[in-house]
Structures are given as C-alpha cells and as structure tokens.
Symmetry: C2
Subunit: 135 residues, 2 copies
DNA sequence: TATAAACCTAGTAACCCGATAGGGTATATG
DNA sequence: CATATACCCTATCGGGTTACTAGGTTTATA
C-alpha cells in the first residue's frame, strides 16, 4: 500500500510541474487545490527539496519550483525517497536489501523467486514513467 | 510490503504442495522447517482452509492437505486472502475498491493513472503464477 | 520594519502487525 | 473407554509506523 505521504508527494510534484517554468508555487496553494493538510505537505516538500528534486525560495512571493526537467524526474526516485523500497520484500530490494530471518537459502525460497518477478515488472513501469508523463 | 502472514502462507502452501498427494502435513512440521511461530502459522492455515484451498484432518495423524490441484492455485487468490488488495492504492483495486477522500475526479489524478499501470503489471505476474510453479 | 513564506524540531493519537496465551473440540489409537 | 494428538477459536498485548499538529525560527519582499 502506497502511503499518503508518497501519494501527496506525487500529486504536489505534478502541480508544480504544470506551472510555467521559473514560477513559484506555494505550499498553501497546493494544499488547498489537492486537499492536503498544510503542515503535512510542508514536511513532504521539505524532503523532496533535500533530495534535489525541488528548489525553494523563502519569504514573501516565495514557494517551490522544479530543479530538474520534468522528463528527468523518474517515478522510481520519487517513490524511493518518500516510500522507501519498491520491492514487496526486503530480500529482493535493490536499494534497501535485507536478509530474511527465516530462509536459510534465499535461492531456494519460493517467495523470493516470485517477488523478484513482481519487482522487475513494477520497476519497468516506474522507471519508464517520468513526471512529464503525468502532467 | 508483503506481510509475514502472506509470506508464511505461501511458504507453507509450497511445503504442502510438495507432499505426495493424499498425505497430510502437520502445522508443527511446517513451522519447524520454515522457522515460523507455531501459533501464528496455525491462524494462517486456518484462513487458507476457510477459503477452500486447504483441507484439514483432526486427531492423531491429522494435518493439512491441498484441496485443489496445485496448478489451480493462483497467486492472486492466495495474496488476496492473506494480504488483501494487490493494488497499491484502494482507488485502483479491483476487489477492494475504495474512493479517495481527496481527489474529486479520479480520472484526472496522476497517481491513479500510474498505479493502474503498476497494478496491471503485477497482476500479470501473479495471475500467471500458480503454486505448481513454485514447488 | 511589517509581513509572508519556507524551515525546523518535537510530539502525539490512532492504527496495524506479529506474536502469544489459553483454552475448546474432534478423532485416532491402545 | 481413556488418552494423546492436532486442529479450532478468541482475546490480548507490545512495539512500531503513519498521518498529522504545535509552535517557533529564519529569510526575503514591500
């Protein structure tokens, strides 16, 4: 299940991406348009800024704007920052790998094999979808 | 993230499927082999029995056995009973649909569109994988 | 300098997951 | 019949995560 954090994050990004280049969009504006709690959205945009997707300008007339071109913002990146692993099980995660406590042999594990397939199919979609595709 | 419930359930099913047809496999045996809490596994097998995948025999020499042919047990079914929705967001779930609170128009929602694609790709894998493929 | 906006740190209520406890009930076997 | 075996069922609990809030700080503009 996708967390609301990620969901809100993607929605906010599309809002910002739809803006004319160079213009700002404020938290309050996004929050109202997308029916998101202002404070919660604030924390989400903050992490997106820290990872380098968004830029921000403080003070009157400030707001958020895209740092990259929308075509360069892959969904894999967005989801990994906000949600964490894309894989359904840590033992098949590329970026957040973790061994299972049970399972002496990963290669003999039925769940492992199945979830690798699911992961690859999901990655296929997310890697080939950029912010530009969503606007 | 796949819950341990589902993970354990799939593992247990493969154990049972590997048995000779007609033979029983006991909770304790599965629990030990797969390093699963006995009581927890008990509750999992119980729900699998109630959905008609497994049969059980009480008393000495009892245990669990497959009711269906392994080829007929689709992963979609197993995951839906143990995990719930396969979709990453309720508004694109086929079997557990739920409208979002935010989102006045589903068709205009970027997340919605994206997650339909992810769902379809995941379903492709899970629908075409049966218990027989895992053993 | 007043105001508007992002920044930052904490905290919290509600919820869910994994596990456990403690029995009840049916059924083989001797 | 007696007894052990093994499934059936409900309740509960600790720990972790999620979604969200409070309140103040910093910085830019008018």
């Amino acid at each position: 299940m996708l967390s609301k954090k990620t969901k809100y994050g993607i929605k906010a990004l599309t809002c910002i991406a739809r803006q004319e280049k160079g213009t700002m969009l404020q938290i309050a504006a996004i929050a109202e348009k997308e029916n998101i709690s202002h404070k919660f959205l604030e924390s989400i945009l903050l992490t997106l800024r820290k990872t380098g997707v968004l830029g921000a300008k403080k003070g009157k007339g400030g707001g958020y704007y895209l740092l990259k071109n929308a075509v360069e913002v892959k969904m894999t990146d967005v989801i990994r920052t906000l949600e964490g692993p894309i894989a359904m099980v840590p033992c098949v995660s590329l970026n957040f790998y973790e061994k299972c406590d049970d399972c002496p042999d990963e290669n003999a594990c039925a769940v492992h094999k199945l979830m690798i397939q699911v992961r690859d199919n999901t990655l296929d979609v997310l890697r080939n979808t950029t912010l530009a595709d969503l606007v």
